[in-house]
Symmetry: C2
Subunit: 405 residues, 2 copies
Amino acid sequence: MSYYQMNENLSIDYLMKQGIFSETSNLTSREVGDGNLNLVFIVKDTLSGTSVVLKQALPYVRVVGEGWPLSVERTIFEANALEIHNRIVPNLVPKLLHRDDELALIVMEDLSHLELMRYGMMKMEKHPKFAEHISTFLADTLFYTSDMHMSSEEKKRLVAKFINVELCKITEDLVFTDPYYDADRNNINPRLKPYLEEVFWKKTELWLETSKLKYKFLTEAQSLIHGDLHTGSIFAGEEETKIFDAEFAFMGPAAFDVGKIIGNIFINYVSWSGKDEDVEKIQDYRSYLIETVKRLHRLFEKKFIENWKKDAQDISARVEGYRDQFMRNLFIDTIGYCGVVMIRRVHGLAHNIDVDGIENLEKRRDVQVKLLELGEILIMNRHQFNNIEEVTDMLRENIEGAKNL
Amino acid sequence: MSYYQMNENLSIDYLMKQGIFSETSNLTSREVGDGNLNLVFIVKDTLSGTSVVLKQALPYVRVVGEGWPLSVERTIFEANALEIHNRIVPNLVPKLLHRDDELALIVMEDLSHLELMRYGMMKMEKHPKFAEHISTFLADTLFYTSDMHMSSEEKKRLVAKFINVELCKITEDLVFTDPYYDADRNNINPRLKPYLEEVFWKKTELWLETSKLKYKFLTEAQSLIHGDLHTGSIFAGEEETKIFDAEFAFMGPAAFDVGKIIGNIFINYVSWSGKDEDVEKIQDYRSYLIETVKRLHRLFEKKFIENWKKDAQDISARVEGYRDQFMRNLFIDTIGYCGVVMIRRVHGLAHNIDVDGIENLEKRRDVQVKLLELGEILIMNRHQFNNIEEVTDMLRENIEGAKNL
């Protein structure tokens, strides 16, 4: 069946035809997509109360419109990644119920009882299990798809399976390139523009260091990475954490996923400086965020090393000192990517509502400048930080110290 | 047509059927393969004097026999690489006349008027154009298949096309792993065994550094590399240089090709210490080899940088300081891979006749120990060398200085 675009009625017809619901169901469908690239329908049987999510790729970038075409084959990458995640970390991702590569759609477990982590964080919600869960997701997906564990052949087959040309290109351009000069696609707070022109775009050393990290993104096929692991790709509740939206997945630098999620937590951390909120509440929530990042990273390293000790197959991975230098390099790159993703969300094409929710453009600008400065510190000093505590100490000193909180 | 194994008569029949020779030809065929993996026929029309080479992959590693099966799909990689080389450096590779992926064969220009470079070097032959030619081959193939020049998409399509599972695995095992412990497949001069057991296999820091270089080989998709660029993969004459046998080609670390060819020249350089040859002749030939390596590397860097200035497409490749750090890293890795390939040819599965031609096993052992020591110096100090002259000075001092030549 060749591609056609779903709407709410068509999504019901399709799911009935596939036998995903019983013939006596009474289905309703609601389009809820708020991302940039896809249609998302929640289809529910009002009789039984069961529901599923149908996600279909659009043949263009939704936020820009039909002027930026994009192949729907990205659904194949998402389905392929989700199949692997379903094997490695079944409790931390939506169940994949059905895939249709021609229609560029997947049908998944409905997780709408959970809230998007980003929205929860904007309301200062705490997710007590998040550090535990995300560290498992990272340690398991990044280790078990690496050369340390996989055979040389299996690993290379994964590289071939995840030649994700278009979505990698989006990251290469929007994350690693456009923010460093006055690119057309940038989306700039007019109050920030003078700072970019007079200060930020003149930082050639910063652009150089970011370009080195970009080169790793282009060439380093280490692990199957999620590729877009921000707080908008995670459902988080009291007890559950579910990571989804893996359409950017490819065999890339493991540190990118780790740095990206930390960077997005740091963005939320900084964003409170521009918000009219009770000072003590902010202080408390920021402490929680810092603890979350520390725990997340400590647990990630611990679990990754445990996986290594237990399941490293390559004899070279057992050479004395090998794991230590690997972990060290992974950490350095993590800090670098963390800085890179903080910067790109300031004035690149895609922003975070954490910051864009600050309506006063001057206040927003001040937060944005702070994010750019912090991103720069992280990128430029990534080789100097010895552990995650030194990173969070720097952040705290820089943000809370300055405000005497 | 499904695979069948060629012999001299069948190779004639096949080429006649393909119309590669005219119907009035009078063909003779001669099997001349001396490699590890293939049959090679020179088929000649005794009337016109024209001739071609037909190369067919065997479904096992020839040197070991049918006990080590190997897919014949490697011919597809060789043909694919040769097509690209025919476009980028047409004068430096054999012309590809015909390919038959089912029969796992390629038909190429006959270059048997030229001598294998390795054999020439064993007779102290000089190849005055070699440095000029090989530096062009390296600079052009490695630059024009990299992210600096190619679009993100073209580059990734090349990665997918060259998922060369089996031949990469051979290098991963035989070059980067087996020589560092008492692996079954090693091929050890019995006089060398005590040194390996008492000294070499205890060098865990060396194994660690080699493992880091192995990891780059496993993960760094920089350029389409030849993958087996030693002096037995090159025909060299007075005026011509032709690089062939690209079946190991894949998207890997650019430095591997550069380091491998230099390492193989160094092996020849060291091998004379074990040979009964006129001292002055040795001295003269070694000076020539040192000059060749220096010129080769200087020219390679010069041409690579010229290509970059002229044809770098990626905006990040034009960021101030980017090219310099790239060239520096390329040099460091080159020296590392140079050391690695020197070591693997001592007691790994595949040796160089330059050294194995030394019949006296004690003399051969002395040369082998020297090669292991030099390989170690190169690998362990690769970050300290500033340029190729410092490398060749070290070599000269170590070999000729010690002998007061």
